[in-house]
């Protein structure tokens, strides 16, 4: 037992020696240089610097000033402006006088700081201030809170104003319709506008037909595989090409799917065309819309939701007629119970206790909807009317002149059908701004337009799908603030009126959430793009908990929501599969979020969890983890993961597929990159190109390697050739960014070359193109 000598120890222990910056020397310095010149000893440096700063660096400054003058003359050429401080990638040109003056005091400060920290025992943690600002998140907010644009009004205004009343009532009350209804309302509105229809009369008819299908579905108890849960959606979307006339389209969708043919054709077919022409529903025979809507309402829920609507002019007769004609079921409750398997599986969600209570009261009609606190309702509305605009065109106008700009042709919200078909066309052609706008129009038609936020409204499957598309596109466009604003009224997506149970008369027997699962993901992820990843994680963890609970319920032999419903084994299997993949999707988002937070350890863990849910992505994910380690600088661990990926690939039966071989080669290239061996990296990227000459990533990366090897011209030729030959793949912002950076490095004529790129972009790209990568401004 020996005793530490504490008396002396204290002294030694408490004197914390700080090895200041100046004490830190470089290894070779002793070998290469005289100590005095390099060893910036704390004191020496501090005092010397402070003295010399005024003198020595004063001299230096003088020198600089000379030089500056000199260089000013020289570099009047545009290069200078390009070399300027703000210019990306390029060194700051000292010519910038202001800049140098600014730097000087800063420098002094740093020196002082160094000295201080050298003397004091405490560490001053402020050094990073100088070095901050490496990542800048540019969040551009385009908010134009103007009033609804006149054009929008032209087409949509008249119906929408009426809808507000009408839709509110019918939606909550329609007795037997399925989720399909909403599609149709919107759809019809959209359609009816461009077509000859008057603003009246369109919605009710369309509402009807889908509702039949819903019923029919349930009554006939079709196999789940056959049943298309929301035929309107998927069909309209998948059969985009076939028709121009919305009505025809509508029918196609029904007739093409085998289930519906048998059922709906005889009745629905005659009914709908009439509707499309603005006439009334055959059965009701009442001429005015409101009436036609309301007759649906009436028959059932006199007591419950009647409160919501002022007048319930119910005509039970027509309803029952329809019912008997189409559904052929005498017991509406039986049909209700037979909710489509797929609907139940997909829509399942577990509301919070509060929400659950309200939903139960609605179901048991303990009190009417009126008593529900307004706070608990979702009242979305467009927060900005029009983010339309085409940055490419604006740039053309500025750089290429009006004529060139005139030639730019992109689809706008007005130039396509005001339907889902048009919407799809816009998204496909990468005119996402226009698509956002079109979603807005369709939502306006649904009564959730600009300025409608905070006003009671009803939700349908399709209004929520439209919101989902609109918000997704906003996120895709990087307009996170805008998305956040419009997401706000949805709160945490757990309001009672976002559940089908809230509308027992519109969606009889249907349960679960109207909010698409993907919208929840989007909602959760959005916060991380706004600098609040912790909140994203919270939301994702909530989602994870629900997914796990649902899986647990399924395992226990219950339905997804924990109710006692018998589910056939195959359906249960399908449901487990669905929810497992959803859980995997949540984990994916978590991993991405953690990566964004730079919590690499947890992110890697999370990605490894993702592998369990998506085993087919194992090689890609392992490679991704490898790249994470490369990013941190941990080359050895990166290599290990790349090795793991190779092993997985070798074991798989498809190991010789070019796809897999490319992963291996790509990883090797990255590893060489991490070892500073650009020549080898280039070799491996070129190997990838032997397998797949069109591989955009390998082409781009090979070009980047060439630059680091000092072969600017080769690199440029390579990239330029690609962009010309295959604009579809290479007019991508990352490639263009590299290309423009090299243009800037190459010559003083980068401006012309960038403008040439702009022209290429103008021909190929839609309004969602991010023009920043052209670095024209």
């Amino acid at each position: 037992m020996e005793k530490l000598e504490t008396s002396n120890e204290d002294e030694a222990g408490t004197s914390r020696e700080e090895v200041g910056p100046n004490d830190i020397k470089l290894i070779q310095e002793e070998i290469l240089f005289n100590e005095e010149t390099i060893d910036l000893d704390a004191d020496a440096f501090g005092s010397e610097e402070n003295v010399t700063l005024s003198e020595d660096s004063g001299n230096l400054l003088d020198k600089l000033n000379d030089q500056m003058m000199e260089s000013v003359i020289i570099s009047d050429s545009p290069n200078i402006s390009e070399d300027d401080a703000g210019e990306l990638g390029c060194l700051q040109d000292i010519v910038d006088e202001i800049e140098s003056h600014e730097v000087l005091p800063l420098e002094q400060e740093i020196n002082k700081e160094c000295k201080e920290s050298g003397n004091s025992t405490e560490h001053a943690g402020t050094h990073d201030s100088a070095s901050s600002g490496q990542q800048h998140v540019e969040i551009k907010v385009v908010v134009s809170p103007s009033e609804p644009s006149p054009e929008a009004e032209n087409t949509l205004q008249s119906p929408s104003s009426e809808h507000e009343h009408e839709l509110v009532t019918p939606d909550s009350k329609q007795p037997q319709s399925d989720d399909v209804i909403p599609v149709c309302t919107i759809f019809s509105k959209g359609n009816s506008q461009p077509s000859f229809l008057g603003s009246d009369g369109f919605e009710s008819q369309l509402i009807k037909s889908p509702s039949f299908t819903g019923e029919i579905k349930s009554t006939t108890k079709l196999q789940t595989q056959v049943v298309q849960p929301s035929p309107s959606l998927s069909n309209f979307f998948s059969d985009n090409g076939n028709t121009q006339s919305p009505a025809a389209d509508f029918f196609d969708s029904f007739t093409t799917s085998s289930n519906f043919i048998s059922v709906s054709n005889p009745n629905a077919a005659p009914a709908v065309p009439e509707i499309a022409h603005g006439s009334l529903t055959p059965e009701s025979g009442t001429p005015t819309d409101p009436a036609s809507i309301q007759f649906f309402v009436g028959n059932q829920s006199l007591n419950s939701s009647g409160s919501l609507t002022a007048e319930v002019s119910q005509s039970p007769k027509p309803f029952s007629q329809i019912h008997s004609v189409f559904a052929g079921s005498d017991d509406p409750f039986a049909t209700a119970l037979n909710m489509s398997e797929m609907d139940r599986r997909n829509d399942a969600w577990l509301p919070s206790q509060d929400t659950r209570n309200i939903l139960i009261s609605v179901a048991t009609q303990k009190y009417s909807a009126v008593f529900i606190d307004k706070e608990k309702l979702t009242m979305p509305g467009l927060k900005f009317d029009n983010i339309q605009g085409d940055a490419v065109r604006d740039l053309m106008l500025r750089f290429l002149g009006e004529q060139a700009a005139m030639r730019r042709q992109v689809l706008t919200a007005l130039s396509v059908e005001q339907t889902f078909v048009g919407l799809k066309k816009l998204i496909e052609s990468k005119n996402w701004r226009a698509a956002v706008d079109l979603c807005g129009r369709l939502l306006t038609a649904h009564g959730q337009g600009y300025g409608k936020s905070g006003q009671p409204t009803n939700h349908t499957t399709d209004s929520l799908q439209l919101w989902f598309v609109r918000l997704s596109l906003l996120v895709k466009l990087g307009l996170f603030q805008n998305a956040e604003m419009e997401f706000e009224p949805f709160k945490n997506l757990d309001q009672p009126d976002l559940y089908y149970e809230y509308y027992p008369h519109v969606y009889p027997g249907r349960r679960g959430s109207m909010v698409p699962f993907s919208m929840r993901i989007l909602h959760a992820e959005l916060r991380q793009y706004l600098g609040n990843p912790q909140e994203s994680l919270d939301r994702l963890h909530n989602m994870k908990a629900v997914c796990l609970q649902i899986l647990d319920n399924l395992e226990k032999g219950l339905a997804e929501d924990g109710s006692l419903i018998t589910i056939s084994p195959s359906n249960r299997q399908a449901s487990v599969q669905l929810w497992r993949s959803r859980l995997g999707r949540v984990m994916y988002s978590m991993a991405n979020c953690l990566l964004m937070m730079k919590d690499y350890v947890l992110a890697v863990d999370a990605y490894q969890t993702v592998i369990r849910y998506y085993p087919e992505q194992e090689p890609q994910l392992l490679s991704g983890i490898g790249r994470i380690f490369l990013q941190i600088g941990d080359i050895k661990t990166a290599e290990k993961y790349f090795q793991d990926a190779e092993t997985v690939i070798q074991k798989s039966p498809t190991s010789n597929e070019p796809q897999n071989q490319m992963i291996v080669l790509m990883n090797r290239a990255f590893l060489h990159l991490g070892q500073n061996n650009f020549a080898e990296a280039h070799k491996f990227f070129s190997e990838v190109l032997k397998l797949d000459p069109a591989n955009a990533v390998a082409n781009n990366n090979a070009a980047v390697c060439l630059l680091y090897l000092g072969k600017l011209k080769d690199s440029l030729r390579h990239l330029e050739g690609l962009v010309q030959q295959d604009p579809k793949h290479y007019l991508h912002e990352s490639v263009l960014f590299n290309l423009t950076t090299m243009y800037e490095l190459e010559s003083s004529r980068s401006m012309q070359k960038k403008q040439a790129l702009l022209e290429a972009v103008a021909v190929k790209e839609g309004d969602s193109f991010n023009t920043q990568c052209l670095k024209l401004l």
């Binding site: 037992m1 020996e2 530490l4 000598e5 002396n8 030694a12 222990g13 914390r16 020696e17 090895v19 100046n22 004490d23 830190i24 470089l26 290894i27 240089f33 030089q67 000199e70 009047d76 050429s77 290069n79 390029c90 040109d93 420098e107 160094c114 943690g125 990073d128 070095s131 901050s132 959606l233 998927s234 997909n346 799809k424 496909e428 598309v469 997704s472 895709k476 991405n592 730079k598 992505q617 890609q620 991704g624 790249r627 994470i628 490369l630 990013q631 941190i632 796809q659 790509m666 990159l673 070892q675 680091y708 000092g710 011209k713 960014f737 950076t741 490095l745 010559s747 003083s748 004529r749």
Partner: protein, 412 residues
């Protein structure tokens, strides 16, 4: 554009770009399910997007390399790399071009050009490229000076220079703390803080000991033959994170014996730190020699060589002491006195002559003790008197023993 420039025109343009490592493009995955309104549209869009990972489009971190977007920060110990391109913007052939790149620091000027050879001619629209590298060894302002000289077709000699200024910052904050053990071992705790803005992978943090010491690193826990870092699986330092490294230094026997003790200010060694950041960007630093003030032991040092942990009540036990003459030239004549305390009693004769002790030599001494009280007892009450100087050195609390009753001892 340059045509409009009113001032003197140069036929050649010089461009400089710092080559930090490229970065990987990250995309923003937005997905939907088949059943949602867009159907497979979103997934098709993502598959067509060249920046996504094929087969795993939801993965944020792509494979597309993008060139550095700004100058960024440069830190002491990193390598400054830069692309220098001289481009012939004119439509005439330019002759005898020489490009020179120098780096001016606060203390010196270094030539960085790989070659300063004169290029005989440069055709229109072609360029001379050079990639320079320099390991940054000073903090503070650096100025890259690029000079270009050439001859026009008319035989006119032209010359211009450009300056690029940048600041070199300090990447790490290093604090050290010494702990001296009675056995001449020294423990060094080094706190290393990342004061950059990006995560840093610590590839190597080692202590290069001075000639007098052997070092063992105490930063791994060895279980079942596998070394496992005390920092766990986290191999990197986030911005502002600090890590503590521990080293144990033992004086090499020849130094320990020769000097008897290591006294005064001694050089311990220096820390060698190697780190990596984005895509293997490497940095390396060494601290200056770390020094410690060895604890002073006075003229005579008494240290315990052996002592039992546990002894039985009222039974004698032995301890071995080492007495060292720490003075440089004075020979001592020592007398040992033992003063009994309440609990511990010395067995033996007090006032014993130890004889002459020469400078830097030591003697070993076995003493018998007996404790009359149970519990943890402190050994105190030794007095050494140097009869030449009549100076007395007191040694109290030199060690502790645990005293247990004889019965308990027997049982255990």
């Amino acid at each position: 554009m340059d045509v409009n420039q009113p001032k003197q025109e140069h036929l050649l343009a010089l461009k400089v770009m710092r080559l930090t490592k490229p970065t990987l493009f990250t995309n923003i995955p937005v997905t939907c399910e088949e059943r949602d309104l867009p159907g497979d549209l979103f997934s098709t869009l993502m598959k067509d997007d060249p920046s996504t990972v094929k087969g795993a489009e939801t993965l944020m971190l792509g494979e597309m390399l993008t060139l550095p977007q700004n100058f960024g920060n440069i830190f002491l110990g990193e390598t400054f790399s830069s692309y220098i391109s001289v481009h012939n913007d004119s439509n005439q052939v330019v002759k005898d071009i020489q490009v020179k790149a120098d780096l001016q620091t606060s203390s010196q000027r270094l030539n960085l050009s790989a070659s300063t050879a004169v290029v005989s001619e440069l055709k229109p629209d072609s360029c001379i490229d050079d990639v320079i590298h320099h390991e940054v060894k000073e903090i503070g302002t650096h100025i890259l000076v690029c000079a270009v000289s050439y001859t026009t077709q008319t035989g006119e000699k032209m010359y211009f220079r450009k300056f690029f200024k940048f600041q070199v910052l300090k990447p790490l904050d290093v604090k050290t703390k010494f702990y001296n053990a009675e056995t001449d071992e020294v423990f060094l705790e080094a706190q290393i803080q990342n004061i950059t803005t990006s995560p840093m992978f610590m590839e190597k943090v080692s202590l290069e000991p001075s000639i007098m010491y052997n070092v063992s690193e105490l930063n791994t826990v060895i279980t079942n033959g596998d070394g496992c870092s005390t920092f766990g699986t986290k191999t990197y330092l986030q911005p502002l994170d600090t890590r503590q490294y521990l080293y144990c230094l033992k004086p090499k026997p020849e130094f320990a014996e020769k000097a008897g003790v290591i006294k005064g200010v001694t050089v311990i060694g220096k820390l060698d730190i190697v780190w990596k950041t984005n895509l293997g960007e490497r940095g390396r630093l060494q601290t200056s020699q770390l020094q410690r003030m060895a604890p002073g032991y006075g003229d005579v040092r008494l240290s315990i060589e052996t002592i039992p942990d546990t002894v039985r009540l009222e039974e004698p036990f032995d301890i071995t002491c080492k007495i060292t003459n720490c003075s440089s030239e004075r020979t001592m004549d020592l007398v040992l006195e033992m003063c009994n305390t309440n609990a511990i009693h010395w067995c033996g004769v007090s006032g014993r002559q130890l004889g002459k002790l020469h400078p830097s030599s030591s003697l070993h001494l076995t003493l018998a003790l007996l404790s009359s009280v149970q519990g943890l007892q402190s050994v105190s009450g030794l007095r050494l008197t140097d009869t030449f100087l009549k100076r007395t050195y007191e040694y109290d609390d030199i060690a502790q023993v645990c005293v247990v009753s004889s019965k308990l001892q027997a049982e255990s």
